[in-house]
């Protein structure tokens, strides 16, 4: 169970290109992160002499090899040392996912090592398992980010059942859009959190969709977003310049909006815990970095006596290290052939009878 010719634990290379970030990491079989490189954080763009385009597969094509090289070199790992190659294959942008998958297939073929496809959202939850440094399942999993807002029943480290997701906007997207209405900077998560610190979260009563409908483990943030717009701009909304809004008014809206969004996340998590009889809640994704959400979840955990495991701040946003879930998949024999493809959307179980 060790690298040939040494007593070191086996290592795998993980590649992540599901959205804007090009990321690669080397993680050993004890889930120790030896390197964790994300293109947008490494100043790699300087090597290309220009601004890194925010999106487009072309940017991933430019970054993928330098990012992999950097991940290997920071981990002091040669290609020959790798025991497997893991890659996120869904969900995400097809063109972007394909870049990572093609790189991973090439390496797996070249090195004659197993190729392990990884679900990006499940990897977000596995970040909690890595942080806890012990088995945390079964648990309810909440993944909250700019693109996702999902609740899972996690029976084990690689068996996640989707309980429900957003029916319109992801919660991070609502933060971004409300920030734009208020003239606050992008991304909206940090800027709303900051503005909300000096705001009155009780000044405005914004809707909390499905809050009382305990059987419905789904989210909706579109109505909340529209309510905020109506509060600022009236019904029907008139044109306005966010720069002319009073700073205290902005702070009060930010605080009231944030509280409404977080109320729903906390309530739905509690309802899921109760519905499935679980006593552990794992939370991952970019919005899990929100201080007020972390505080409110901690309070709920004390009140309801469940164990709360939050992904560490460094592993909330997209990264490749969390794809270490691939070790679990490898142990279960869940590897793929070179014909494996990417999937853009959330994989849902078909309704019964279909």
């Amino acid at each position: 169970m060790t690298t040939a010719g040494s007593n070191l634990p086996r290592r795998l290379l993980a590649i992540e290109t599901s959205c804007d970030e090009t990321a690669a990491a080397v993680v050993d079989e004890n889930l120790r992160v030896l390197s964790n490189v994300v293109a947008s954080q490494t100043g790699l763009h300087k090597r290309f002499g220009g601004v890194v385009p925010e999106v487009a597969s072309r940017a991933h094509v430019d970054h993928i090899l330098p990012v992999i090289e950097q991940a290997l070199s920071e981990a002091g790992t040669r290609l020959d040392d790798l025991a497997a190659v893991a890659v996120v294959t869904h969900p995400g942008l097809v063109g972007s996912l394909l870049v990572g998958l093609t790189a991973a297939k090439t390496l797996a073929l070249l090195l004659d090592k197993p190729l392990i496809p990884v679900n990006h959202i499940e990897a977000h939850l596995f970040a909690c398992r890595m942080h806890a440094e012990r088995d945390v399942f079964p648990a309810i999993g909440l993944v909250v980010s700019g693109g996702h807002c999902n609740l899972y029943d996690c029976q084990g480290g690689r068996a996640y059942e989707l309980l429900g997701s957003t029916i319109d906007d992801a919660v991070g997207e609502a933060f971004d859009k409300v920030a734009s209405m208020l003239g606050l900077s992008y991304p909206g998560g940090p800027s709303i959190q900051k503005s909300a610190e000096s705001g009155n979260r009780k000044r405005f009563k914004f809707p909390r969709s499905f809050e009382r409908d305990r059987d419905r483990l789904e989210f909706s943030f579109s109505g909340l977003k529209t309510s905020v717009l109506y509060e600022i701009a009236g019904k029907p909304p008139r044109d306005y310049d966010p720069k002319t809004l009073d700073p205290q008014y902005v702070a009060d809206i930010a605080a009231s909006f944030q509280e409404a969004a977080i109320d729903v996340l906390v309530t739905k998590s509690r309802q899921a815990l109760a519905a499935r009889g679980r006593s552990t809640l794992c939370v991952g994704g970019g919005v899990a970095a929100n201080a007020r959400l972390r505080e409110r979840l901690a309070a709920a955990a004390r009140d309801d006596r469940f164990e709360l495991i939050l992904a560490p701040m460094a592993m909330c946003t997209d990264n490749a290290a969390m794809s270490a879930i691939a070790w679990e998949l490898l142990a279960a024999g869940q590897t793929a052939g070179l014909d494996v493809d990417v999937t853009s959307g959330l994989v849902r179980r078909k309704p019964a009878g279909k």
């Binding site: 385009p53 999106v55 072309r58 029916i167 789904e218 579109s222 849902r348």
Partner: protein, 186 residues
């Protein structure tokens, strides 16, 4: 089935029982033909989506224009549901830029909100989607106007009251006109 309908092209009827206002009847005018639909509720919007779904043909590009909260994603969800897609799958594509739904015909749901330029939109390979057999919906279409095909259906959504919306449908070419004409038959 959409292909067949395209062959039975007819003119826009003069009378109808649907709350549409006709922008043009019959003869060619300098302005492109348009329809206005006033929706008082989400169920009215659903009816519009159903009607639109029945009139669309493969390769149609629908450009959606309207402010935050106007109901762009809501309209796409209505069309997709009418095409047999589980409506829970139809969520905002703002973050992933494009979502694909498998209904009676493929639906490609784009969102340009996060894109810095129409060039970045082009980089997604939109030409191939536009030339394909599915129907494309583009949210925040005005941000990428120079990349849209000349012939498309433009839908502007305006908030008129808390649940009230005005939809203005404009054809910019022959295909868009056919879709509008067919909408008048149902």
């Amino acid at each position: 089935m959409c292909r067949n309908r395209a062959r039975h092209e007819t003119t826009i009827p003069r009378s109808h029982h649907f709350p549409f206002l006709l922008g043009r009847i019959g003869s060619v005018t300098a302005k492109p033909p348009f329809w206005i639909f006033d929706s008082a509720s989400e169920s009215d919007t659903e009816a519009l989506g159903k009607r639109l779904a029945a009139a669309l043909e493969p390769g149609t590009v629908v450009a959606l224009v309207g402010n935050l909260g106007a109901g762009k994603t809501r309209l796409v969800r209505s069309v997709a549901a009418a095409a047999g897609v589980d409506s829970r799958q139809v969520t905002s594509p703002t973050f992933v830029l494009v979502q694909e739904y498998e209904g009676e015909w493929p639906i490609y749901h784009f969102d340009t909100y996060r894109l810095a330029s129409s060039g970045a939109f082009e980089d997604l390979g939109v030409d191939e989607y536009f030339a394909g057999a599915g129907v494309c919906f583009v949210e925040w279409a005005d941000r990428v106007a120079d990349v849209l095909p000349a012939d498309h259906l433009r839908i502007e959504i305006e908030t008129t009251a808390e649940t009230g919306r005005r939809f203005r449908l404009t054809a910019t070419g022959a295909q868009g006109e056919r879709v509008l004409a067919r909408m008048g038959q149902f």
